[in-house]
Structures are given as structure tokens and as C-alpha cells.
């Protein structure tokens, strides 16, 4: 394993370091990892200067010994906020003749390199590697790799063969390909594929010990989430009334409205339709608070300025179409509400 002794990898997870003193922590973390790799004792009490000097000297030493240090910056676009001093000092250290090091930055943002300052960007080699979602062949290989049972385990041979044989049939099945493509349409990363496969495997029938197409179908349908629809189905009928009243206020083009205006609309609905669901102000206020908790509505102002709940402006967090759809699939939705929605 000659390579391992020639390389030292320092893995910086930026999101762990994004606290107030970024530079201090980063330098401390780099020094700590270097110490761990080279079996040196790391002191937490070391100051920022001591740590930086240590890093510089480590770079020089490793350069002289022909060892490389690889800095991996996970989510480095977080370092690109503010003055980018960490990035600058790191890349600057790479520029000296003695140091033999590589800085690799990883990011979800395609424009992460645009975020860099001029002085940082000038030290950047402009080499980018783009990782795309898996292609068709990659997908097949991934599925085989992940799902097939390896032959060198404790499982009896016949079981492994039967399992893999049944799995092969499923993987060739056109229906499975449809399911997987439909799933990957919404989220095509490998991580989400992993999630889907884990879910399918968790539904495996433990008695028989074999995967079936049904497992994949169940996994797919349980991944199809519509959280706002679920929230609407959870609402009580009074809460639906309040939502419909808010929708009507929006249709009437009232730019801002609060609980009191909703109550006024609610009363007018009751007066015109003589509904049986007319409740007191207290009850409606609690239902209103429940809606806030479900995040179907929220306050439209930012702070509130000490206003009590009834006077703060609110707004709907679901669209009219979503509300309509949710109500249509609601069990025993009052006909009045559906009629009001259609207007």
C-alpha cells in the first residue's frame, strides 16, 4: 500500500466549521487531523498562530519527504462567504515551492467557482469535474451491485443463488424499469436511489426471504408524498372553513387580512348559508392556531410588534388549486365548502 504512506488526506467538513471563528476552527481542525495522521500529539490549547505555523512546517516537511497532503473541502462554498480568508491562505500556502499539496473543493452549487474572490480565483487552477446523475448503464450496474447478494457470505449457496435468480427476473422486468425511471424523475441522485432501494428491501417478506416486485411498488408509493395534501386531510371541518374564508378574502383582492377579518367572512358565510358549523370566537381562534402549527398559514409580518394574534396579518401557504384538490379528496367535506370553492 505504497500510496497510503505517500498521501495524507485532510478532510474538512465546512458545515461543521461554520461557527463564529471560522479561521480559528479551520486551522485547529487541519492541525488536529495532521497530528492524527502522523501520530503526533495534538494540543487543544495551541493558539491560532501556533497552529498555522505547524501547518506551514508540516507542508514543508511533507514536501521535502515527497509526501503529498490532500485537502478536501466539503461544501467549500460556505467558505466563500465573507472575506474568504481561509481559502486565500490555504491556496496561498499551496503556491510556495516546497509544499506538495492539492486542494480539492466539493460543492453542490454549479456556480461555486463564481463565488470566489479575484485573488482566490487567480490561485485556482480552474479545473472542474462535473458529477452527473447516473446514466442508463451506470444505473443497471448500480442496481446489480447494490442488490445482489455476494457469494462469499455466510448464507447457504442455494439460498444465495435462488435470491439472485429471482432478483435478476425482477430487474429485467419492464415494470421495474418504469418504476425506477418514474422515481428518478423527481430526484435523480444516487443517494435518493439508495434510499428507494433501502425502503424496498425493508419491505421484504422476512418469511420467504426473497425480494418481489411488490416491494418496489410499495416503496415507490410510500415515496410519493404530498405533504400539503396530507395536512389538509388532517384538518378538521372548522379548520377547512377558516381556510376557505381566507381564500375568499384573497379572491376579493383584500391585500392583507388577519384573524378578525377571517372571522367576519366566516360570520357572513354562516349568515348566507345557515351552516351548522358556527362556533364561538375562542374555538375559532384555537383552530386558527392549529392551522398556524400545521404551517398551512403563516404570519405575513416578520415580528409582530407586540400585536396579539387576532390582529397580525396572515397569508395562505397553499395555493387555491391545492386547497381545492385537498377538499375534493376529503372524507365527508361539507357541500357548502365545495360550493364556496367553486365560485
Amino acid at each position: 500500500m505504497g500510496f497510503c504512506t505517500m498521501m495524507t488526506i485532510v478532510h474538512l467538513r465546512t458545515y461543521l466549521l461554520m461557527v463564529t471563528c471560522v479561521r480559528l476552527l479551520t486551522v485547529q481542525e487541519i492541525a488536529r487531523q495532521l497530528c492524527v495522521e502522523h501520530q503526533l500529539v495534538f494540543s487543544k490549547m495551541a493558539s491560532f498562530d501556533e497552529n498555522s505555523q505547524f501547518i506551514v512546517s508540516m507542508l514543508r516537511e511533507c514536501g521535502l519527504a515527497h509526501k503529498t497532503i490532500i485537502f478536501v473541502l466539503d461544501e467549500f462554498d460556505l467558505f466563500a462567504q465573507g472575506k474568504q480568508r481561509v481559502l486565500y491562505s490555504l491556496l496561498d500556502a499551496m503556491q510556495s515551492v516546497t509544499s506538495q499539496g492539492v486542494v480539492i473543493g466539493i460543492s453542490c452549487r454549479l456556480d461555486a467557482d463564481q463565488l470566489l474572490e479575484k485573488r482566490v480565483r487567480s490561485r485556482f487552477s480552474h479545473r472542474k469535474l462535473l458529477f452527473l446523475p447516473p446514466s442508463e448503464e451506470d444505473l443497471d450496474r448500480l442496481l446489480e451491485n447494490i442488490l445482489y447478494l455476494p457469494t462469499d457470505t455466510d448464507f447457504p449457496c442455494e439460498y444465495t443463488d435462488e435470491f439472485n435468480g429471482k432478483l435478476k427476473n425482477i430487474l429485467m422486468d419492464g415494470r421495474l424499469k418504469d418504476i425506477i425511471h418514474a422515481y428518478l424523475n423527481s430526484n435523480s441522485t444516487v443517494n435518493s436511489l439508495l434510499r428507494f432501494l433501502f425502503l424496498a428491501v425493508s419491505y421484504m417478506d422476512v418469511e420467504s426471504g426473497f425480494l418481489s416486485l411488490e416491494n418496489f411498488k410499495t416503496a415507490f408509493s410510500s415515496m410519493q408524498r404530498q405533504p400539503k395534501m396530507e395536512s389538509i386531510k388532517d384538518c378538521s371541518i372548522l379548520e377547512l372553513y377558516l381556510l376557505v374564508c381566507m381564500k375568499r378574502l384573497e379572491v376579493k383582492e383584500q391585500s392583507s387580512y388577519n384573524f378578525n377579518s377571517v372571522m367576519k367572512e366566516y360570520k357572513s358565510v354562516h349568515d348566507s348559508f345557515q351552516t351548522s358549523d358556527h362556533y364561538s370566537q375562542d374555538v375559532c381562534l384555537r383552530a386558527f392556531e392549529n392551522l398556524l402549527q400545521r404551517e398551512l398559514i403563516c404570519f405575513a409580518d416578520n415580528r409582530g410588534y407586540g400585536q396579539s394574534l387576532e390582529f397580525r396579518p396572515v397569508k395562505l401557504l397553499i395555493s387555491h388549486a391545492e386547497l381545492h384538490q385537498g377538499m375534493k379528496s376529503y372524507r365527508s367535506c361539507p357541500a357548502v365548502l365545495l360550493k364556496l370553492m367553486d365560485r
Binding site: 461543521l16 476552527l25 453542490c108 410510500s222 374555538v283
Partner: protein, 537 residues
């Protein structure tokens, strides 16, 4: 004086407490030994329950429990993080804990309500994993000081490796019958409850991605992560990539599930069932939350059973009809008080009021008491009323409202309502609905307060010679200090809030947040004619 067991923080002790320490030394040293937590404490120490009990104790949750059991898998199967979400009081926390009781696997549960900052969360988890208990001996300090996520990851990894090695070595050494008392498996699970509160923390932009990424960071298959949240997963936005946890949805209970829940542990099932037939449907139209319904049903059931002399009888059809007829008129007032919690009467008072208890519970739910059910001093009440008037009345009318005659009803001029004034009235009403109570400066509040109390003093001194319970002395400086103190306690009780600063005037403005109902109640208790002073458009 020397203390038993050196505390890490030197404290000053009184003679009596040091004496007490030396007396109890023997006992505390014994208890100290038995209080050291062991690996067994990481699993439930109650009797394990089997699968059927698990299903029967949570009616209507069979699908969710099965899903959780599938995702957790058999013993020692690694898992991807799970995200349990649902509205309040849908049983998420209790079910996940009981599932772990059934599976007898070690877990560490933390709630983001009690661990309200990153540091407390980290240290509490580490304490339990390091089997460290905060006690007198270590000065109630945590095992490790941990504020930053980076430190937490390092400590967590060490602690988890320790624990897992512990479990492994113990299961190798012990024989199978001794294993019976120990938790199952070689995995340990971390449960984070009430995750939605983390969004409001100061460091939420780093904390939330960190928590969701914990699985990737640790890369330990022996650790399982479970998140429990009261809000849906789409309310957690992040610009970082992470493996989204697998969602498990807990819908609100259906009516049938609610019926099963309420029927549990009922002494007289047939009677309660006929009660539920009458009330469940109308109340479910308002809310399906178990916590709200259980309170109102327990009071309503007492009302339902009033005509019965024997609570153990099985009702026949005729009796059911009679009971329903008795209950019917009470349903609507209870519906309108559905979210009120009846005030608890103390034990001594309860003895006196036993005969009236049923009525009181009903009354407190339905009517919410005609009187103010908390104590306020008289001057505080006057201050509350003055604040209410200052918020409701426009400042320009103060002079006419509070002149020496007191009250302004005589000033209202009846004018024929023209169309324009009707329109203006409507617009003004709309504005009032939207804007809410107005703000007022301190001086105006004090001026109104003085007017009101002088009027009241005048009228009360007419009724009773000399004696007034107001405490309004002659010297104005005493009055001021008392009033300012009362104002600050009103602010603490949220009856009066501080509005925004007016940049021109530079003084703080206040706003009254009491409802007209409460102000009326307070005024009634003082026999103050509030409606005379209230400006109505």
C-alpha cells in the same frame, strides 16, 4: 468544615448544611454506587411488551407501527435515517418509544424542547452515552464540554465506539441467561424529538444540515438515527445536499380510531359507547386532537351520567334516548368551550364544594366565569381599564370624555346617517379590525388613570364615608411610583405590551392587548361604568 466528596466548585456552606452532609454521608455513598448508570439504562427498564400489546395499545396506528418495525428491521440491521412527522398529539413520541421497548434495543432519546440549544443537546447526548450522571459528586456538570458541531462529532464517535465495544464484549462474556436482562443487539439508536424547534434556534442554518448529515459524517453502521417532527419535511429547507431521511407519516386519528382510543380503560363500555355515539361526530367537526377532546369528554360524560343513579348499568334503547335528550342542550355550550381547560380546585376547597363540583366543571367550560378568576389589586384593575380606554379611544376625544362630569354619553349628537358617513363608518370599522388597538404614551395613560380614580374616589366616598380601599393618597408622587410598578407587572402579564418607539417623540408607547370581554369583567368587578367611557363609532 470539610465536605464529603470533594466538589469541583468550592461552595460556601452553612453550618447546618455541612452537618447534614456528614450525617448522610453513609447513605449517600451507598446510593452513589447504585446510581451509576450502566449500559442497561440505555434501553427501557420496564417490562418488555409483545407485538400484540403494542398494536392494541395504539388503536388506528397499525400501519405506522408496521412501517417502523420494517424500517428498523431485525436485530443488527443497519438503517438509513428515519423522519417521523405528524401533527401534534398523534402519538409519534410514545409510539417510537414503545417500539423500542418492544424491541428491547438501546437508544438515546433527546427532545429539542428540553435541550433548547446546541450545547445542551450535545452535552446531554454525550452524558448518556458516556454513562455519566450529573450528581452532587461532580457538581452537576456534564462529562464533556461541547459547544461546536465539530467537537460533538469527535466525542460522539469515541463514545459510540466505546459503547458498542462494551456491548460486544459483554455479550461475548456473559452466558445466555444473563443476557436476558440486557438490551438486544449491537446497534444503538439516537432519537431527536421536536425537531421543528431547531429551525428557530440562532444557529439553525448550521444545526439543521448538521443533524441531517450526521449519518454521512459518522459513517457508522451500528448507529441508527431517528428524527421526530411536528411539521412536514418540506418545512426544512437547506441549500446543502444530504440524504433525505425516509419519511414516516402519522396522520391525525380518524373518527373510528378516536372511538377506540376513548373506549379504552372505560369501566362501563356500553354506556360510554352510547355517549360517544352522541358526541363524537359533532365534536370531531371542530377538532380531532386527542388532548383537547379528552378533557372536554371527561366533563361532558359526567353531565351525561347525571340522571343515572347507578353508573354500572347497561342502558337499553329507551334509557339511551332519555340520556341523549338530557345531554342534547348541553352539547352546544360545550362545543363552544371545547378548548378551555377547567381550573383545578384545591383539595381543601374541593371538600367544601363537593356538591357543586359537577356544576363548576361544567360552568368553567361553558361560561368561562362571569368574574375575573385571578387576583388583581384595585389600582391594577383601574390601570388595566385606563390602558384599554387609551388604546380604544382616539386621543383627540380625551378632553371631552374625561371632563369633570365624567362620562360622555350626553355628548353624543344624534345625526341622520348619510350615505357618506355610513361608508366612512364601514371603512373605519374595517381599519379597526385590521389595525387593532392603538398605542399610547405613558403620560396619556397616567392622565386617564388619574381622571378615572378621582371620579371613582368621588363616587365611592359618596357611598361610604371616608374609607376607600384604593390607596390613592393625596401626594401625587406616591401615586406615581405605585402606578409605575403596577404597569410593569401588567406588562409582564402581557395585558399591556410595549409598542414600537415613535422616532419623533422618542418615548416608549404602550398598547393594551386585553379583549373587550376581559375589560368588561374587570370593570364590573369594580362597579365602574366602562361603557360610558368607551367611544363607539
Amino acid at each position: 468544615m470539610s465536605n464529603e466528596g470533594t466538589p469541583q466548585i468550592t461552595r460556601r456552606t452553612t453550618r447546618s448544611s455541612s452537618a447534614a452532609v456528614s450525617i448522610n454521608a453513609a447513605e449517600t455513598s451507598k446510593t452513589r454506587i447504585s446510581n451509576v448508570p450502566t449500559i442497561n439504562d440505555l434501553a427501557f427498564d420496564q417490562e418488555p411488551i409483545n407485538k400484540d400489546d403494542l398494536f392494541s395499545s395504539f388503536p388506528g396506528r397499525r400501519t405506522q407501527i408496521l412501517e417502523l418495525l420494517h424500517l428498523l428491521g431485525p436485530s443488527n440491521s443497519p438503517m438509513l435515517p428515519i423522519f417521523i412527522y405528524g401533527a401534534a398529539s398523534t402519538g409519534k413520541t410514545s409510539i417510537i418509544l414503545q417500539v423500542f421497548r418492544h424491541l428491547k434495543r438501546p437508544f438515546v432519546y433527546s427532545s429539542c424542547i428540553s435541550c433548547y440549544s446546541p450545547r445542551i443537546l450535545f452535552e446531554s447526548i454525550l452524558d448518556r452515552l458516556l454513562l455519566h450522571k450529573k450528581s452532587d459528586a461532580n457538581g452537576y456538570s456534564s462529562a464533556k464540554r461541547c459547544e461546536k458541531p465539530a467537537d460533538f462529532v469527535n466525542f460522539l464517535r469515541e463514545a459510540l465506539i466505546n459503547i458498542i465495544n462494551n456491548i460486544n464484549s459483554n455479550s461475548v462474556n456473559l452466558s445466555s441467561d444473563k443476557l436476558a436482562g440486557r438490551p438486544n443487539g449491537k446497534m444503538i439508536y439516537l432519537i431527536f424529538d421536536n425537531l421543528e424547534l431547531v429551525r428557530d434556534w440562532d444557529k439553525s442554518s448550521t444545526m439543521l444540515p448538521f443533524l441531517f448529515n450526521l449519518h454521512n459524517i459518522l459513517k457508522m453502521p451500528e448507529v441508527g438515527l431517528i428524527y421526530v417532527s411536528g411539521t412536514t419535511p418540506d418545512t426544512y429547507y437547506s441549500s446543502m445536499g444530504y440524504i433525505e431521511p425516509i419519511p414516516v407519516y402519522f396522520p391525525d386519528y380518524t373518527e373510528d380510531a378516536l372511538r377506540e382510543i376513548f373506549m379504552r380503560n372505560q369501566a362501563n363500555r356500553k354506556l360510554y359507547s352510547s355517549f360517544l355515539n352522541a358526541v363524537l361526530r359533532p365534536f370531531c367537526r371542530v377538532t380531532r386532537r386527542v388532548d383537547a377532546l379528552s378533557i372536554v369528554f371527561s366533563s361532558l360524560y359526567k353531565v351525561y351520567c347525571e340522571p343515572l343513579k347507578d353508573l354500572g348499568i347497561v342502558p337499553n334503547e329507551d334509557m339511551k334516548r332519555r340520556l341523549f335528550a338530557h345531554l342534547q342542550p348541553r352539547i352546544t355550550p360545550f362545543l363552544n368551550g371545547i378548548f378551555r381547560v377547567p381550573s383545578q380546585t384545591s383539595v381543601e376547597v374541593e371538600g367544601n364544594k363537593k356538591a357543586r363540583w359537577k356544576n363548576d366543571a361544567e360552568k368553567s367550560i361553558c361560561e368561562g366565569f362571569e368574574k375575573v378568576d385571578f387576583h388583581m389589586s384595585a389600582s391594577a384593575k383601574y390601570l388595566l381599564i385606563s390602558a384599554f380606554l387609551a388604546s380604544r379611544n382616539p386621543a383627540t376625544l380625551d378632553a371631552s370624555m374625561f371632563d369633570s362630569t365624567g362620562g360622555c354619553s350626553s355628548h353624543k349628537r344624534k345625526r341622520k346617517a348619510s350615505e357618506k358617513s355610513m361608508e366612512q363608518k364601514e371603512i373605519a370599522e374595517q381599519e379597526l379590525l385590521m389595525r387593532g388597538p392603538g398605542t399610547f404614551p405613558l403620560e396619556r395613560l397616567l392622565a386617564i388613570f388619574q381622571c378615572i380614580t378621582s371620579v371613582a374616589e368621588y363616587s365611592s366616598s359618596e357611598e361610604e364615608e371616608g374609607s376607600n380601599g384604593l390607596g390613592v393618597e393625596g401626594s401625587s408622587s406616591e401615586l406615581m411610583s405605585d402606578v409605575l410598578l403596577q404597569l410593569s407587572s401588567l406588562c409582564n402579564a402581557n395585558f399591556v405590551t410595549k409598542g414600537g418607539n415613535c422616532p419623533l417623540e422618542g418615548s416608549i408607547r404602550y398598547r393594551s392587548t386585553v379583549s373587550e370581554e376581559l375589560a368588561m369583567k374587570v370593570a364590573r368587578s369594580l362597579r365602574f361604568p366602562l361603557s360610558k367611557y368607551l367611544y363607539r363609532r
